[in-house]
Each structure stands twice: as structure tokens, then as C-alpha cells.
């Protein structure tokens, strides 16, 4: 299955987001590069609001991801609760 990926600026706002992604996507591979972090996952990657909220201890709106987002690939489906990237939905 080809990878989807998402990349963020590497800072204190994205550290718990990356931890939440890793917790929800056991097959995800985290690749740290200068100033950025890229997460690859085979076929599908899900970002869950509640997992991030557990990490940061406050309410989180998934659209806040926009602020530190660098790039992504795959088809997107975003709701209040989940942000999903996938190939061949």
C-alpha cells in the first residue's frame, strides 16, 4: 500500500500532535528533519481530536492543525472529530 504522509513544523505546539498521531497509528513512521517532522503511514493515517486533547489537556479544534502544517498527501476527510488521509477511499 503506498504511503500517505503529513508534515508539520517541529515545535512545542506540534510535539503533542505528533505523539497523538503515533498513538493512533501504530504503523506510522516519524521522520525528523531540520525544523520539520514528517509522518508516513501505509495507505491511511488518522488524527483524532480526543487523543490530542488528552495529550495537551485542553479543547482542540482540528482546524488548528492548519497553523503548523507543512504538507500532506492523500485524499482528505475532515470532521469535528477526525482528520483522515487515505489513498483509494
Amino acid at each position: 500500500m503506498p504511503n500517505v504522509f503529513i508534515a508539520f513544523q517541529r515545535n512545542e505546539e506540534t510535539r503533542p500532535i505528533v505523539e497523538a498521531i503515533v498513538a493512533d497509528n501504530p504503523a506510522a513512521v516519524v521522520n525528523e528533519q531540520p525544523a520539520m517532522v514528517k509522518i508516513d503511514a501505509p495507505g491511511r493515517l488518522v488524527i483524532r481530536r480526543t487523543t490530542i486533547e488528552d495529550e495537551i489537556g485542553r479543547d482542540f479544534d482540528l482546524q488548528e492543525l492548519q497553523i503548523n502544517l507543512i504538507t500532506l498527501t492523500g485524499h482528505i476527510d475532515e470532521t469535528e472529530d477526525e482528520f483522515v488521509l487515505s489513498w483509494n477511499p
Partner: protein
């Protein structure tokens, strides 16, 4: 006052209410008269409401997040400027990549702003219209933030001062300029496939991700900040590009051959522009995150491969030039930097021979080609330079009629032979660098015979200063062209080794690190 909170709308409901629900069908005027450009390209759309932005971004949320991005960006730029951050970059060679960026890329951001404003106005569907409006505002933000952050370098270094003037005149800048002019003079659907999909989705990761990560690696927080801030919008642009192409293909089976021809064309047009990026990554960054070849493998071969694999269900095939582009990855940056080294007297930035350490890295990254084809060239130039004969090519190169890059690319299967292609049209012969560019010309000769080719224009006498007198025996045409470019000879151009930039940077850095 009754402040009872009502239940918050879902993202889907909010998106519907604030995009499609705010649109209306005109009654005083015919729809065709309000949106006159949607028919002539042959694309058939039956139901515009089928388009939906999967981010479900509404204008209110857009302003909120963009304002947040701007606050973060300008805080970083201010801090960088206040602390003389420019002295923290690896060395002043790096700054030449920024000069190329400002003169070559920033004006394209502004053209993208204009292009998306136009297309957003012309699409009858509310979904694409709102997404194009957001992208149009994003693009002008990118142009502005790049100008702001690079203006700090302009205070200290040569070559930044006439960026806008030069974009419309200088030979290598006609490559990115003509690319975007080509796109904005196409119809609205072709523009979306050209810029929204082929450029944003397939190619811009190569421009902004490894190169900007490289800027951070070289200590340039300013460029990192504007680059990644721009790229955060880019995710939305890529998504618009992918969704619009799926939307067009789903609307009518007759759309497929038109879209495929645009993909073939615009992949190749965009890929040729990236020649400059390949060279920036491999030769202009003193410290490198990854080679052009590695970036191509990650962002084009793997990711583009997954994308076209996915789009195969619509009948879309990998663009025609793909295979050649994959072969070229071992050669592209070396051939490009060699060309700029040759024409280093006519460029508004400095060029140099890679150091021994740089060449060691290039050998490791390009084991199949560097030592065999390119190291001997650099070693030759270095010997000549050491003996006081730094080579500057004083002739003018032949340019490709379509991409406008000098004819410097080799045959896909023979790296020792320059590729030449030609076509005859209405009594004239036109020249091309590749099968890709020839094929683009052959489909639309009426458009590409109009190319403003810098070398042709110089020979026709259109690139001299107003008071030049070419009839005088001591007239130096190339010197006058540089004056017309507003390029200060001996200051903005020539080798880095002898540059004022290098001397100043070393003097200032030593002041910054000692008393």
C-alpha cells in the same frame, strides 16, 4: 439578555451554510453571460455543487487561522532581524539562493494571486470559488511576506535591489516568468490543472519542503519562517488541485482526454522550472538536508507514484515526460550549475566551483554520474581559476522556444550529448531542449511562437539602455544589456570568491564573534 448557547454547528453544516448557501443563481442576466469563460475549453460540468472542499474551510475560520500564522511569522522575522540573524547563516554563499528565490519565485506568488482571483471569479460553483478566493489571498500574502523577510538581506548584501525590474528582463528569470504567464493566459480549467494540480500537487513539495528545511539547516530562520508559513497554505492549495481534477473527471467522461493533455504539458513545464531548484539544493546550500535526487525520489517518484496510481481509476495516466524526468535526476543539478558558472558574469548572484568537501558529498549522493561526468569539469574550472583564468562564457546560449532554458540538457540516454529538437512552422524553424517541449509547441504553435526569448531579444537590439548607441565602434553590447538589467557589474555578478558579499560577511561575522 438571553445568552443561552445554542448547539454548535457541525463542520459539514457550517461549510454548507457559508459557501453554497450564500451563493445564488442570477436572474437579471443569463448565467452564461456572468460566467463567459467556462465553455470554450471543452470541459463539461453538469453540477457544480458536487465540489466540496474536504478541509471544509469557511471564510471566518480562514481569517482566524491566517491571522495566527501571520503573528507567528512576523514575530520570528522581527527576532531574526533584531539579532542580526543573517550573520548566523552557514556562509554568504547561501544568500545567493535567496537572491534567486526573490527574483525568480516571489513574482510568481503575485501572479498566482492574480490567476486565482481571476479563476475564482469565473467559476460558477460556490465551492471552487471560495477555495480559489482563499488561495488568491494566500498567494499575495506569500509575495508580501517574502519581500518583507528578504528586505532585511537587501540592507546588507548585493543583488536584491532590482528584483522586480529584473524579473521581467533577465535571461534566466524568463524561465519562471514565462511559465506563469503561460498558465494565466490559459482558460480557467487549464489554469487549475496547470497550477492547482500539476504544479501545487505534484511539484511544489520539491520547492518548499526540502529547500526550506535546508534554509533552517543553514541557519536562516527568516526564510524558514516565510517558507513554512507559505507551505501551510500550500496544503490547502494541493487539496484544491486534487479535488478539482477529481471533480472535472467525475463530471463527464469527455473531460479525460483534455485533462490528460494538460497534465502531460504542465508536468513538463513545471518540471523544467524546477531545474533552478535542483541547482539551489545541490550547489547553493552550504549545508544540505538531502540531494535533489533524494528529494525527487521521495516527493515525485514515491508520492507522485501513489497519486497517479490512485487516479488510474479515472483513466488518468502518468504524465508523458515522467520517465525522462526520473532518468534526469542524476544529471539535472550539475548541468544547471555548470550553465550558471559559465554565465556567471550575466547573473545577478554569485557562482563558484564546489569545494573539495562539497564534491565529496556530491560523489556520495550521485555515485553513478558525478565522478564520471561532472567532477572533471569542476576540477578543470578550479585549476583555471587558480591560475587567474576564471572562465566566463562571453557568448549567448540558444534557448528552448518553450521552457526558455538554455540548450544545456543532455539526451535522456546519453549524458555526453546535448539534446536538440526542432519543428518547422510557417516558414520558420523553432528549437527545443527536449521531446517534452517540442510536443508542447507542436500542439499550440500559435502561442509559443510569441515567446519573449531573452537571447533573441538581445540580438534584435531590444535589451539596451535608452541612450545606447550600437553604431559606435566601441559599443559593448553585453555590458549594455547588464546596465539595462540594472545589474551592477563587479558587485552583483561574477565569482563568489572575489565578491564584496564574501568580504563583508567575513568582516561582520568576525565582529560578531570577537571584540
Amino acid at each position: 439578555m438571553d445568552m443561552k448557547a445554542s448547539k454548535k454547528l457541525s463542520l459539514k453544516d457550517r461549510y454548507n451554510l457559508m459557501t453554497r448557501d450564500l451563493a445564488w443563481t442570477p436572474t437579471y442576466q443569463a448565467v452564461q453571460d456572468v460566467f463567459p469563460y467556462t465553455q470554450y475549453e471543452g470541459i463539461k460540468i453538469h453540477d457544480w455543487d458536487q465540489f466540496e472542499d474536504p478541509f471544509r474551510m469557511t471564510m471566518d475560520a480562514y481569517w482566524k487561522y491566517q491571522a495566527e500564522k501571520e503573528r507567528k511569522l512576523y514575530a520570528i522575522i522581527d527576532a531574526f532581524t533584531q539579532n542580526n540573524g543573517h550573520l548566523g547563516v552557514t556562509d554568504a554563499r547561501y544568500i545567493n539562493a535567496l537572491k534567486l528565490f526573490l527574483t525568480g519565485v516571489t513574482p510568481l506568488e503575485y501572479m498566482a494571486h492574480r490567476g486565482f482571483a481571476h479563476v475564482g471569479r469565473q467559476f460558477p460553483g460556490a465551492g471552487p470559488r471560495v477555495a480559489c478566493l482563499m488561495q488568491s489571498v494566500d498567494e499575495i500574502r506569500h509575495a508580501q511576506t517574502q519581500i518583507h523577510s528578504l528586505s532585511n538581506y537587501n540592507k546588507h548584501y548585493n543583488g536584491f535591489q532590482n528584483w522586480r525590474h529584473q524579473h521581467d528582463r533577465v535571461w534566466y528569470l524568463s524561465v519562471p516568468k514565462s511559465f506563469f504567464d503561460d498558465a494565466v493566459t490559459a482558460g480557467p480549467f487549464e489554469f487549475m490543472v496547470a497550477i492547482g494540480f500539476a504544479f501545487e500537487y505534484v511539484l511544489t513539495n520539491l520547492l518548499f519542503v526540502p529547500f526550506i528545511s535546508g534554509a533552517a539547516y543553514n541557519g536562516d530562520m527568516g526564510a524558514m519562517a516565510f517558507g513554512f508559513s507559505a507551505q501551510s497554505d500550500e496544503s490547502r492549495h494541493m487539496t484544491l488541485g486534487l479535488e478539482i481534477i477529481k471533480f472535472i473527471l467525475e463530471q463527464d467522461p469527455d473531460n479525460l482526454p483534455i485533462v490528460q493533455a494538460w497534465l502531460d504539458k504542465w508536468f513538463w513545464r513545471g518540471y523544467r522550472v524546477l531545474t533552478l531548484v535542483a541547482m539551489m539544493m545541490d550547489y547553493m546550500l552550504p549545508k544540505r538536508v538531502m540531494s535533489w535526487k533524494e528529494a525527487w525520489e521521495v516527493y515525485a517518484e514515491q508520492n507522485g507514484g501513489a497519486l497517479f496510481n490512485d487516479l488510474a481509476r479515472y483513466g488518468v495516466k502518468v504524465p508523458k515526460g515522467w520517465e525522462q524526468a526520473c532518468k534526469d535526476k542524476d544529471h539535472l543539478s550539475h548541468q544547471a550549475w555548470n550553465t550558471f558558472y559559465n554565465y556567471g558574469a550575466a547573473a545577478a548572484f554569485h557562482t563558484w566551483v564546489p569545494s573539495e568537501a562539497d564534491m565529496k558529498w556530491l560523489s556520495e549522493k550521485y555515485p553513478d554520474t558525478f565522478d564520471q561526468h561532472y567532477r572533471p569539469l569542476w576540477e578543470h574550472y578550479a585549476r583555471e581559476q587558480a591560475e587567474g583564468r576564471r572562465f566566463y562564457n562571453g557568448t549567448l546560449p540558444m534557448l528552448c522556444q518553450v521552457c526558455q532554458v538554455p540548450m544545456m540538457f543532455t539526451e535522456p540516454d546519453d549524458p555526453t550529448k546535448i539534446a536538440y529538437r526542432e519543428s518547422d512552422w510557417r516558414g520558420n524553424t523553432y528549437h527545443f531542449c527536449s521531446d517534452g517541449c517540442k510536443s508542447i509547441f507542436d500542439h499550440e504553435p500559435e502561442k509559443y511562437v510569441q515567446s519573449w526569448l531573452p537571447v533573441h531579444q538581445i540580438y534584435q537590439g531590444n535589451c539596451f539602455t535608452a541612450d545606447a548607441d550600437p553604431s559606435q565602434p566601441d559599443f559593448d553590447p553585453l555590458a549594455d544589456v547588464l546596465r539595462w538589467y540594472k545589474l551592477a557589474f563587479g558587485q552583483d555578478n561574477l565569482d563568489y570568491a572575489d565578491s564584496q558579499d564574501k568580504r563583508n560577511f567575513e568582516a561582520w561575522r568576525s565582529q560578531a564573534t570577537s571584540n
